[in-house]
Amino acid sequence: MSRQTIYFDHNATTALCPEARQAMLPFFEGEFGNPSSYHHLGRKARASLQASRYGLADIFNCGPGEVVFTSGGTEANNMALRGAAAALRRRGRHIIVSAIEHHSVLKTAEALAASGYDVTFAPVDDQGVVDPQRVAAATRPDTILISVMSANNETGALQPVHELGKLSRRQGIVFHTDAVQAFGKIDLGTVFEWADLVTLASHKIYGPAGAGALLVRNGTPLASVITGGHHERGLRGGTENIAAIAGFAAASLQAVAGLDEKAARIGSLRDRFEARLLEDISGICINSRDARRVHNTSNICFEGVESESVLLHLDLLGICASAGSACTTGEPGPSHVLRAMGLSNMQAQGALRFSLGRSTTAEEVDTVAAALAGIVEKLRSLSSL
């Protein structure tokens, strides 16, 4: 990095924490065994895998066998939706997902719709929050699966997943929650009280890319979608990436350690950031401001400017942020999340996401706020609107 980088894009991915790095390095030296191998190198790998599994199980108060490691959040979401849909297809074909899910859920739901399932996309209110009543009203006797994320990646809005999960359980419907953006931000220690399937991703919690997990509550019907050897109890074939999994487990421990304290510290920086912007820049609007949100995320519409132009100016100053979610770089068009909240195309087009993290300082917050004020003024001065 040539200049001082300010990283306000922690919802896209995070830097590896030292504990995770430390946990991974042995596997890049001598300990390269395949956990399926009989010999001592294999057993060592197996022991590491088991230790990682127990680490996760401990955090989520579940059985080690309920932790199914995957290559990441997207795969876990696919496994949850495709796997439950396939396992339950004789019981029914109706699936409900919220309109603001991550593409790894939305596109998978669309793929299921194309292959004979019936999918309802549950709407959100103007704060980007799913209305449980609307979901309840949408359930049918043939509803087999409901999937609603715990926290939205673009706005940070927390969803009523406890309520939705309990509603699902009462009706014998499998409930999946994509907790990728919630893990390490809210307490998920009792997640199996309301959810059957829970998606996690390592690289969002200061762990390495290449690992994630689907927590599968015992007894939840689930077909394997990546078939092969008897890995992960037959639910996910493939030689396990024990280095990434060990890093993920180490990062998970850090993610839940002192959670409240971290949330309070980062949350107050986020609030300071928003207060500064509201003070210094006219015509802005904080999305999901009235919703309960995770502590690190600010999604802001700047009237009369186009978000890519802001992003590029920020980038030239070494400031990392994003427009909508990182995954939408390849996808033109305004955010489906903001559109679902009722924002116009033009409003959505001026939206930026700032996601703070462990390394964020008050100084950085002030620097970014000041930079934004200048950039928005400059762009507005040449705007044709």
Partner: protein, 156 residues
């Protein structure tokens, strides 16, 4: 491997926006836009409005992405002044800026012949998926010239 099936996802354009095999990928990670584009984006030329212009155009729809306004002052068939304002992405701003720079001082008969390619070439290229933005600057210029001609013919 041809097919008539509609359900086939056939990624035939797999390497569309990537150089051919054998070409070397850039050694150092590059900015999405080149330096000339960045320069025109951060310091756009000919920004502003012209009071009582000889030609004016408004192109694009802000709801769909970009919008641009362009003013020209014409004397003896020559574009003596040109100004623009733009709501849009960096590509739109930079191509608009470059289009006005190219057109400044030109005879309208020559300016009419300016193409998107001329603008892109003058900028040293823009990313493939941003090429549609380059349409705006030249499109606005041509529209402003048409507007000038209509006004002139009415005056006659």
């Amino acid at each position: 491997m041809q097919s008539e099936d509609t359900d086939e996802h056939c990624p035939e354009d797999l390497s569309a926006d990537e150089p051919a095999p054998g070409e070397q990928p850039p050694e150092e990670p590059v900015l999405f836009y080149n330096e000339t584009v960045i320069d025109h984006f951060t310091s756009p030329r000919n920004v502003g409005e012209i009071d009582n212009p000889d030609g004016f155009a408004l192109v694009g729809d802000p709801a769909c992405g970009d919008q641009m306004k362009l003013w020209i002052r014409v004397e003896g068939g020559y574009i003596l002044d040109i100004k623009f304002k733009s709501f849009g992405c960096p590509g739109a701003i930079a191509t608009s800026s470059m289009a006005t720079m190219l057109a400044m001082g030109m005879h309208i008969d020559d300016a009419r012949l300016l193409t998107d390619d001329d603008v892109v070439r003058a900028l040293g290229g823009i990313p493939a998926n941003k090429e549609h933005c380059s349409l705006m600057g030249v499109g606005a210029l041509h529209a402003a010239i048409r507007d000038y001609e209509q006004r002139s013919s009415k005056k006659l």
